[in-house]
Amino acid sequence: MTDLSSTEPKAHRSLKVADARTKKRNAAEKRFRAYGIVAIAIGGLFLLALTYNILKAGLPAFTQYVVELEVTLTQDEFDAAESQMLKTAAYTDIFIGNFEANLAERGVAVPYDADAIERLLGKVGGDIRSYYRENLDDIGQPVTFQLQTSSRVEGYFKGRVNRDTIVDSRFLMGSDLDIVDALRDSGVLTSRFNWDFITGKDSGVDNPGGAGIGASAIGSLFMMLVVLFLSLPIGVAASIYLEEFAPKNRLTDLVEVNISNLAAVPSIVFGILGLSVFIQFAHLPQSAPLVGGLVLTLMTLPTIIISTRASLKSVPPSIRDAALGIGASKMQSVFHHVLPLAMPGILTGTIIGLAQALGETAPLLLIGMVGFVAREYPDGVVSGFMDPNSAMPAQIYTWAARADVGFYEKAWGGIIVLLIFLLLMNALAIFLRKKFERRW
């Protein structure tokens, strides 16, 4: 083709044969398409790498290694343990005492050593105590417990700790691994899905096995309720007024510019504002999801106002004109015709705003929701809003800062849970848009 065309005399140029300039333009287009594909491929690669890393680091958090043992607690032992100051330690000792008898019964021959067993177990005292306090009838009865192993033992199964690099310390000795292997071979030590991670609460820094994201997820939920019920009505009312009723003058221009500016204000600024207004001035409690929700409402409002105004604008003027033409008042035209048509856009904007607020940590730092907070489930709606709690991103941040590597895994596991929440919210936004969307 090219050879032919080059020999062709200029005067007989055919449309079917590309000349030099056309070829150049076509080549430019091809190059541009190639750049586009490369850009998407790079983006896709990043996404893949990110997903791979998150899953690789986070999935182990959903597996738990437990020791299964039958324990019979006598009334005397219960009373003795309850009379101590550090009751949980007493329960741990009772459990370790039962260990030996149990092993002999099962015919497991391991070099028994109470200190070693204590090193292998996680913080089990609290679990045992809370079980017996709730089930007083089980005192004197044999009860089968599945109790967590220590973070070093979990690390051994999950590949963080191995026999070559282990350094003997008071946390774990190299020789303890022989006991671990023997327990696993005999079935005393098994793995299971870690429901405690999903339903659990935060734990002390020496107890990574007991940490869960549940309580802080509830904190996030209550914050999102506050954000939803405050920012949606306020945001929608403000945008309807600005878009449909407000006169166009310098004042409304100023308001508009400031709303756009607010949308770009770093979130930590809202945290400082929240601290001085809600906690120091209004005397609301520290670390409360209510305050967190109020702060995040301030942050979300501009986003909601901007998206609501955009969707109100996209309703064709003919709808308004038709409504006004048959005698509807301005307010009737807005509430009966424009607003319902703009609703899918408003809902999408709101859900995106909420998803943004859900992942926010910075403002929570200043109102006391980051730290060792999420230790209890709220026992009611008022307590849910007012009692100290954390939020999922704040919990992840806290875990990532702890010395024990076990918490690092928990942080990644928390990220997976948070991402699932975000995916669900975004999926809901897409669903609502598809379901109610109108085209003109």
Partner: protein, 345 residues
């Protein structure tokens, strides 16, 4: 219309819940990130062992914590401030200004500060305070002259150390650890190398010379870490030449990735710190607002539980995590029992 109703009812709910926001029933604690791990262990055990709600423990650094502690008396201020340094006159002044007059000081134990680096990095295994000062001080003594620090590699001033570029990750100024680092390492190094005397001889006042001694080079050679030790660890992992300043407990939790250096020939461990042989250690404290005892439930019980033999003693969970327990714990227990406050003016 439904939006108006919704808004009205939401505001009503918010108002009702705001008025019910009386009486806080949990203890609020903030302060040193070095004390935070211990405080969180005690807080969890306190929640597990007593019928009080689990206290809330926040981080932020000793100075930030004491500042919040001194904001005033009342439910919306914290009850206890954790600190890795003693309280200063400037803190006390702020407290007095805001009506916080009765402060109970509680020493919970000791913490060692260790110098550690990547386990498979260069052989940083033994330091003297003089080495750290020569490497990190802004002005040092070279051939009898006080000059701006010219050293780029450790071997430049001590042939026993590796010929590697000097990089150190040290705690930022808002951390209590920084003060110990300055007093027990830089200042000591300044004196033993003779830089301090040379500065005095050159006509500087003693205060100015002390300030000059503890000034670090910055410029990427010393990097202030304002966050937690995990941030220091991340920097060390990214930088094989770097040495980092850690708390003993943090190092002991990460022995598989960090190698520790001896200081003046002494290995940092619980025994050498308790005996005072290891030179770089400091006491850890928390401070209680006496006005909150009896108002906020559980404040005194929490403090007593914190320093009980079963918790802060040599075989308790805190020592297990890495705290060097205080041999004079009994005196502290008695002081808390009697609510002895600091004498301040």
């Amino acid at each position: 219309m439904s939006f108006l109703k919704l808004t009205a009812s939401t505001l009503a709910v918010a108002a009702v819940s705001a008025t019910s926001a009386a009486a806080r029933d949990n203890v609020q604690i903030a302060g040193s990130s070095t004390v935070l791990p211990y405080a969180s262990i005690v807080a969890e055990a306190f929640g597990d062992n007593f019928d009080f709600p689990t206290p809330v423990v926040e981080s932020g650094g000793s100075s930030a914590g004491l500042k919040r502690f001194c904001e005033g008396v009342g439910e919306n201020t914290i009850d206890i401030a954790n600190s890795s340094r003693p309280i200063r006159q400037s803190d006390i002044d702020l407290c007095l200004e805001n009506g916080v007059t009765d402060i109970i000081e509680v020493r919970i134990g000791y913490d060692g500060i260790v110098f550690a680096s990547q386990i498979d990095g260069p052989d940083y295994s033994a330091f003297e305070p003089a080495d750290i000062f020569n490497a990190l001080g802004a002005t040092v003594l070279v051939d009898g002259e006080v000059v701006a620090n010219p050293h780029t590699q450790w071997a430049d001033f001590n042939a026993d150390l590796p010929a590697e570029d000097i990089v150190a990750f040290i705690p930022g100024t808002k951390h209590g650890t920084r003060e110990v680092f300055e007093d027990k390492v830089l200042m000591v190094g300044c004196e033993t190398t003779g830089a301090f005397d040379a500065m005095i001889a050159s006509g500087m006042s003693e205060d100015d010379a002390e300030d000059a001694c503890i000034e670090v080079r910055g410029n990427g050679i010393t990097v202030d870490i304002d966050g937690d030790y995990t941030e220091t660890l991340a920097r060390i992992e990214a930088n094989p030449n770097g040495i980092g300043v850690f708390g003993l407990a943090f190092y002991e939790n990460n022995t598989d990735t960090l190698q520790v250096a001896t200081m003046s020939g002494v290995t940092p461990e619980t025994a050498t710190i308790a005996s005072g042989e290891y030179p770089v250690s400091r006491p850890l404290f928390f401070f209680i607002k006496q006005a909150h005892i009896g108002v906020i439930p559980g404040v005194k019980e929490f403090a007593q539980f914190f320093i009980a033999d079963e918790v802060a003693g040599p075989s308790g969970p805190l020592a297990q995590y890495g705290l060097v327990s205080d041999p004079e714990l009994a005196a502290t227990q008695a002081a808390v029992e009697a609510e002895e406050t600091l004498e301040i003016q």
